[in-house]
């Protein structure tokens, strides 16, 4: 296992974990851009652009891009979030050169008008699809309520109106403000010929003009409150709750992640015993959302409408109890054991290694090996967990609930 790094003259970062024993190779472009970098007039443009990247370049039609990805037997996809857009493909090692060339080419998309209008319909279908899926827009509402006017409160998908109003020109000008090579990392993992990778990327991407994209990372002013969204034909009630959490630069994020596992993992956690083992909820959990400059911890519960008010009270009581009494060494030990096991299982998939490397670059431009990450989690102490509980009080939160209930209220 060898870790290699290179930066092209125009600033494009290349990071790879090269494992000659691997059977596959995974690659991805990680672009530091997302919903937080949009204005309200172009809400949804990052995600729409992510779709348009697969719609062809001066060298290839949309159909050709799809054909070539399939001809390599690649497992490829893309995703857009609040602060990143990721394009990735896993292939057999023999396709390294071909897939790197293709991924590089599509990163300079044509945005042809016919493709643009057709794909706009697909985006609108995607928005409608999520409107039919729990928690029915509750997550977007939560982000906007919790972060208020901070850019992290902006929707990734946008709305039917905002997406309908987008044009190839407005998308191209967003592209020209965000897709600087200095704002992009190319990450790889698996069986990789690194010297060839650098040579190829230099050839395909070396001419990309660098500039300096800007992003405001000022900390958010988190809001608290209770918001109820009425969704009469939903069967279940969905409760989402956000409290302040560590940003992606803060060391305390590792202890906070262990704390989240102890309180909200899908097995054996405090929420598990309170809500799942007892059958009081269909699902319950907790997880961290780290961003540059700001962060959140989200708890969620899905349960029957009849049980929702009582569960809100139970959740509040549980949070107060944890804050007052802390957690035990036994809980910490079990959580560490579980995390160590997850790290080993995840490290065996080249795709998940590639994501880990790219994600680390997005947040801190550094790289940690699997062993280093495992050691950090292993070193977390009970004191650090209690420090995290103190720094990020779960009972000071924004609650958004969606479902058939009309009269839910914040617990006392």
């Amino acid at each position: 296992m060898e870790y290699r790094q290179h930066r092209l003259k125009n600033g494009l970062n290349i990071l790879a974990e090269c494992n000659p024993q691997a059977y596959t190779s995974a690659f991805g472009f990680f672009v530091r851009t997302g919903a937080r970098d949009e204005t309200s007039e172009i809400s949804g443009v990052s995600h729409f652009l992510e779709h348009m990247v697969f719609k062809g370049t001066p060298n290839r039609s949309a159909a050709q891009v799809n054909l070539e990805l399939d001809e390599m037997g690649s497992s490829s996809n893309a995703r857009t979030g609040e602060e990143s857009t990721i394009y990735h493909a896993a292939v057999l090692p023999e396709f390294q050169g071909q897939v790197v060339e293709l991924l590089s080419d599509i990163m300079r998309p044509s945005l042809r008008i016919d493709d643009f209008e057709t794909e706009k319909q697909v985006i609108i279908e995607e928005i409608k699809m999520y409107d039919d899926q729990p928690p029915y827009g509750g997550y977007e509402r939560m982000m906007s309520e919790f972060f208020g006017n901070h850019p992290l409160g902006q929707s990734v998908l946008g709305t039917v109106d905002s997406v309908s109003g987008l044009t190839p020109e407005s998308m191209m000008s967003y592209f020209k403000e965000r897709y600087s090579p200095s704002n992009i990392c190319f990450a790889g993992a698996g069986k990789i010929d690194f010297d060839k990778l650098v040579e190829d990327l230099d050839q395909h991407c070396g001419a990309w003009t660098p500039f300096s994209p800007e992003r405001s990372t000022k900390p958010a002013d988190y809001r608290t409150g209770f918001v109820s969204m009425h969704k009469p034909n939903s069967h279940q009630q969905y409760i989402l709750q956000m409290a302040a959490g560590p940003s992606s630069e803060q060391e305390i994020r590792f202890a906070t992640a262990v704390m989240s596992s102890i309180i909200g993992d899908d097995s054996g956690s405090r929420l598990y015993w309170e809500f799942l083992d007892s059958g009081l909820a269909e699902s319950a959990g907790m997880g961290g959302y780290d961003y540059q400059g700001s962060g959140a911890i989200m708890s969620f519960i899905c349960c029957s409408p009849e049980q929702a008010q009582e569960n809100l009270g139970r959740l509040a009581k549980l949070q107060q109890k944890i804050r007052k009494e802390g957690i035990t060494q036994k809980e910490l030990n079990l959580a560490k054991r579980k995390i160590a096991s997850h790290i080993v299982l995840a490290s065996e998939r080249t795709n998940s290694r590639m994501f880990s490397i790219g994600a680390q670059w997005l947040s801190e431009e550094s790289f940690k090996t699997v062993a280093e990450i495992a050691a950090i989690y292993e070193s977390v102490t009970l004191d650090q967990i209690h420090e995290a509980l103190e720094a990020f009080p779960l009972d000071q939160n924004m609650t958004v609930t969606v479902g058939p209930c009309e009269n839910l209220a914040a617990p006392n």
Binding site: T24, D70, E71, K128, D132, N233, R337, A340, E348
Partner: protein
Amino acid sequence: MEQQIFHHTYENGITLVAQPMPWLESAAFSIAVPAGCRYDALSQRGIANFVCEMVQRGCGDLNSREFIEALESLGVDYSSSASLYNTNFGGAMQAAQLHDALRIYADVLQRPAFPEDQLEDGRLVCFQEIASLGDDLAQRALQKLRTNFYGSIDGRNCEGTLETVQSITLDDIRNFYDRHYRPNGLIIACAGKLEFDSLKAHVGELFQNWHPKPDPTVTTEPATHGVEHIVHESEQTHIAIAYPGVPYSHENYYLNRGAIGVLSGGMSSRLFTEVREKRGLCYTVFASCHTLKDKGAVLCYSGTTNERAQETLDVIIEELQKMALGIKEDELRRLKVQIRSGMVMQQESCRGRAGSIAGDWFHLGRVRTLDEVNQKINELTVESINEYLAANPPQSFDIVTLGPQPLEFEANGISATQA
């Protein structure tokens, strides 16, 4: 890539099947107990699922909480579920813990305590699983489709209904367990960093005192088939289509699998191209092979806004019918690379492999090695697939739509109306 599959069937009928993956640091198991929901009595629908919940609420010397803690202290990422034929227990972990994890599951399977004070909590968990289906509109459409296509037993979901689960007593649970949790027909599949001889000895010791039980009788109910609409005020109309396929064990399985790969195997596949890429009708569209032990289906799904749903259904049906005219050389070439690539990627996951070899053993009584599958894929030709498609053209569609308005469908000579 070297692939060795070992298997051993013990005197009491348990089969251990294992694939060493020495390049990994992890290991996984997948246990299939022949106690699926097809054995649920009509008045006790959901009982296999309820028993699956209850065997994990205390077993051997462990109470409910100690059981979970024991798994967590081994770092086992575990799961369980009832399916039509089997109740499945699975886990993945660091390789050194595999034997200890199996020791815990030996208690789950042979020595469940069924504590009375856990019954109502367990029942509530089962209610939650029923409730969770309510908001998953795509699953609701597909579930109804499977029931219509396979009949009310072979096409059933394992959760049962609120009424039937409410009526189940602790005695019912003990009875179901006594009859159906048995070594004969039970499969234990393991994959990962493991050594077969010591695993075989360990499993033999764990289960040596468990005695075979008589095979239960199985009933089936005829399929209803047809076209059905479920009225729901949703943003999208959810379209689910089924037509006859072949089961995994059938000699034509890979011919059908090849055809469905061309239809829905990648971003250049026909459905993705025609429905999404060219017309922008949907975000999700797919077709896939679904298999029971003795019969199979092709299941298709798309979700699309209501005003465009009719066009989406029409285009999908047109593409399905067009399959009878055959596939092309370049489509088959892409498909072969995709399947080969997918098989190699599966070798990175012991969990995936444990599940696969358990499934192979259940359906075939043996495991298809990578070499064998590779050979079958290489043998596929445009001619062989087209011959199959000409003899078995997609037709006799069963359709379930869920949304505000029914759609028109003429291909079977029936027009869709609310059932």
